[in-house]
C-alpha cells in the first residue's frame, strides 16, 4: 500500500505538522515553564525558553516551599505503595481468574464471563458509597489498605480478561504434554503457563499500574491525610491563588514522570496491553 502520490504526501505533511504542534505544545509548555522563575511566568512569554533553568523548582514542588504548600513527596510515596501493591496482587489474581476463564467453557464460566464483562466498565460512582462505608467501618480508610482493597476489587476483573486473552493465544500442546506426565492443573499453571506468560504479565502490570496511579475519583472520595494520592495532591495545586504556575507545572511533571517513563521505555508492552483489552476482551 505504499504510494508515491504527491497530493498524498502533501496531506500527510500537513497532518504531521498539525499533530506535532497539537501534541508537543502542552508538554513543551509544561516542561519549559516548570523551569522558569516567577517573574518570567508573569511576563507571559510562554513559548520562550527559561533564561536560567530553575531546577530548584522541582525540589520546591517535591518538598514544599513558602510559595508551594503541597509538597508532593508524601503523596508520591503513598501512590507508589498503593499502585505497586495493587499491581502485583491484581496481576496475580487476574492470572488465576484469566486462566479459569480461558480454559473452561461451562455455562457457569459463561455466566462469570458476562459478570466480568459488565464489571470491566462499571462506573465507580455506582459503588463508591458502599466502598466508603466499608472502608470507614473497618477503619481501612486510615491506612493504605482501604484504597488498595478498592482498586483491587475494581481491577481484578480487568486483569482477568486481559490475562485470559493472552492465555487463549497459548498453544495447548504444552499443557497437554504436562498433563500426560501426570501434573495437576495447578502445577501446570505455575510451572508451564506462568513462565511463558511473563511478557503478558508485564503488559497487564503496566496497564494496571498506570490506571491506579492515574485514578482520581476514588482517591478523592476515600481521601485521608495520611494516604493522599498523588493525583489528589496535584488537584489541590490547581488555581494560581494557591500555587504559582511554575511550581504547579513542576508538580505536574513529577506526577506524570513514573507512568510516562514506563510508557517511553516499555511502550511495546503498554501497546500490547491496550490492544488486548480492546480487541479480544
Amino acid at each position: 500500500m505504499k504510494s508515491k502520490n504527491t497530493t498524498l504526501k502533501l496531506i500527510v505533511l500537513v497532518v504531521l505538522v498539525i499533530l506535532t504542534c497539537v501534541y508537543i505544545l502542552p508538554i513543551y509548555v509544561m516542561i519549559t515553564n516548570s523551569l522558569k522563575t516567577l517573574p518570567e511566568i508573569t511576563q507571559r512569554t510562554y513559548l520562550a525558553l527559561p533564561d536560567q533553568p530553575q531546577f530548584q523548582n522541582y525540589t520546591a514542588a517535591l518538598f514544599g516551599s513558602r510559595d508551594f504548600l503541597i509538597p508532593m513527596q508524601r503523596p508520591i510515596i503513598n501512590s507508589t505503595i498503593i499502585s505497586v501493591t495493587v499491581t502485583f496482587l491484581t496481576a496475580f489474581f487476574g492470572g488465576l481468574g484469566g486462566y479459569y476463564l480461558s480454559r473452561t467453557k461451562s455455562t457457569f464460566t459463561q455466566v462469570i464471563f458476562i459478570l466480568v464483562g459488565i464489571a470491566l466498565y462499571l462506573p465507580y460512582q455506582a459503588v463508591i458509597i458502599p466502598l466508603t462505608t466499608i472502608t470507614a467501618k473497618t477503619g481501612l480508610i486510615n491506612s493504605h489498605f482501604g484504597l488498595i482493597l478498592c482498586y483491587m476489587i475494581i481491577n481484578v476483573p480487568l486483569a482477568s480478561v486481559l490475562m485470559g486473552t493472552f492465555f487463549l493465544g497459548i498453544p495447548r500442546e504444552l499443557e497437554e504434554a504436562a498433563e500426560v506426565d501426570g501434573a495437576s492443573k495447578i502445577q501446570i499453571f505455575f510451572k508451564v503457563v506462568v513462565p511463558i506468560s511473563l511478557p503478558a504479565y508485564a503488559s497487564v502490570a503496566i496497564i494496571i499500574f498506570t490506571q491506579v496511579w492515574n485514578e482520581f475519583f476514588i482517591g478523592l472520595t476515600l481521601v485521608s491525610p495520611k494516604t493522599q494520592t498523588v493525583q489528589v495532591a496535584m488537584a489541590m495545586t490547581q488555581g494560581s491563588t494557591i500555587s504559582p504556575y511554575n511550581l504547579q507545572m513542576a508538580a505536574s511533571l513529577l506526577t506524570v514522570a513514573v507512568p510516562l517513563l514506563c510508557f517511553l521505555f516499555l511502550g511495546r508492552y503498554f501497546i500490547r496491553g491496550v490492544l488486548a483489552g480492546a480487541l479480544k476482551g
Binding site: M1, K2, N5, L8, I11, V12, V15, L16, L19, Y23, P26, V29, M30, T45, Y46, F93, G97, Y100, L101, Q110, L115, G117, I118, A119, L122, Q125, A126, I128, I129, P130, T133, I134, V156, P157, S184, K185, I186, F189, N214, E215, F216, F217, L220, M234, A235, Q238, S252, T255, V256, P259, L260, F263, G267, F270, I271, V274, L275, A278, L279, K280
Partner: protein
C-alpha cells in the same frame, strides 16, 4: 473397589483444589463488587440524607427528586454532548489517521506519530486538565497569549463561556484519546483478509478514498464496535476533566452526572440521591456496553 474410590476421591480433590485456586478468588472479588452495586441500589431507595446511614425504604422518592431538578437535566444534556462529540469525531479522526499511516509515503512516520499521539495515554486527566486549564485561561492563558502575540484579539473565552465550555472540555478528551483510538483501528486493519481485499481493489484501479469507504470501513466493523464502545464508556464516565478544569462551572454549565453525584453525596449530604445518580450512570453504561459484551462473549467462547 477401594482403589477406584481413592481414584475418585483424588479426582474430586483435584477439582476442588482447582476451584479454590482459579475460580474462587475471582468469584470473591466479583461478589464484593456486585454486592456493593446492589447495596448502592438499595441506598438509592432508602432515606440517607445525613452523615449517618438511614436505610428506611422510601421507594423511588430520590429518583423523582432528581427528575424534578433542572440540574439533573443540564447533566443529561451535557452527558449527551460528551457521548456524541467525544466519540464520533475521535473515531472518525482515528480511522482517517490510521489509514494515512497505512499509506504513509515516508519511512519512520508511523513510529513517530504513534509515540507523539499516544503519550497522553500514560498521563492522568488531572495533569492534562491542569495544563489545559492554563492554556485555556481567558486572561493569562497560553492560547490567548499566543493569539495576542500574532496580533489576533482572541474571540475565545474558552471554558469561561458557559454556552461553549463543555465543547472545550471535550477537546481535551479527544486530544487524550486520539492515540489510543488510532492503535485500535490500526490493529483491525492488519488482518490478512483485509490486506488481500485491498490489494485486489488496487489492482482493479479503485481510488484511495473508494478503498477506504467501500473496502476498509465495512470490513473493520468489529474494530469500530470495540473502539466506539470504549470511547462511549470513557466519555460517559468523564469526571476528572470537568472537576479539574471547570469544577462544573461557570455556574453548573459543564456539570455532568458523575460530578453531580459527588456534589450531591458529599457537599449536599444527600447520599440516597447520590446513590440514585450512581444507579442511573450504571444503567446507561450497562446499555451502552451490551453490543460489545455480546461480541466479546461470542469471540471468547467460539
Amino acid at each position: 473397589m477401594s482403589a477406584i474410590k481413592s481414584h475418585q476421591l483424588r479426582k474430586i480433590w483435584a477439582k476442588f483444589s482447582e476451584f479454590m485456586v482459579f475460580t474462587l478468588p475471582l468469584l470473591v472479588f466479583l461478589l464484593i463488587l456486585y454486592g456493593t452495586l446492589v447495596w448502592n441500589f438499595y441506598v438509592s431507595m432508602a432515606n440517607w440524607v445525613n452523615i449517618n446511614a438511614d436505610y428506611t425504604f422510601t421507594g423511588l422518592k430520590w429518583y423523582q427528586f432528581l427528575f424534578g431538578q433542572s440540574r439533573f437535566w443540564v447533566d443529561v444534556q451535557n452527558n449527551l454532548k460528551w457521548l456524541i462529540l467525544g466519540v464520533l469525531p475521535t473515531a472518525m479522526a482515528a480511522i482517517f489517521l490510521a489509514y494515512l499511516l497505512e499509506l504513509a509515503p515516508f519511512p519512520g512516520v508511523e513510529a513517530y506519530v504513534r509515540t507523539l499521539i499516544l503519550y497522553p495515554v500514560a498521563m492522568s486527566f488531572v495533569v492534562t486538565g491542569t495544563i489545559w486549564s492554563w492554556m485555556y485561561q481567558p486572561e493569562k492563558g497560553v492560547f490567548n497569549t499566543i493569539l495576542g502575540s500574532l496580533g489576533i484579539q482572541s474571540p475565545f473565552a474558552f471554558t469561561n463561556n458557559p454556552s461553549t465550555a463543555t465543547y472545550w472540555l471535550i477537546v481535551i478528551f479527544i486530544w487524550q484519546y486520539l492515540g489510543f483510538s488510532v492503535i485500535i483501528v490500526q490493529s483491525s486493519f492488519r488482518t490478512t483478509e483485509l490486506q488481500e481485499m485491498i490489494e485486489a481493489a488496487i489492482v482493479d484501479g479503485a481510488s484511495k478514498l473508494r478503498i477506504l469507504f467501500s473496502v476498509i470501513i465495512p470490513n473493520i466493523r468489529a474494530g469500530i464496535l470495540v473502539l466506539v464502545s470504549l470511547l462511549l464508556i470513557s466519555s460517559l464516565k468523564v469526571f476528572d476533566i470537568v472537576w479539574i478544569v471547570t469544577r462544573t462551572g461557570p455556574g453548573i454549565a459543564t456539570d455532568v452526572l458523575a460530578t453531580n453525584m459527588i456534589v450531591t453525596t458529599y457537599d449536599q449530604r444527600l447520599a440516597s440521591a447520590g446513590a440514585a445518580i450512581g444507579v442511573i450512570i450504571f444503567l446507561i453504561a450497562f446499555i451502552l456496553v451490551i453490543p460489545y459484551t455480546l461480541y466479546a462473549f461470542r469471540k471468547w467462547f467460539e
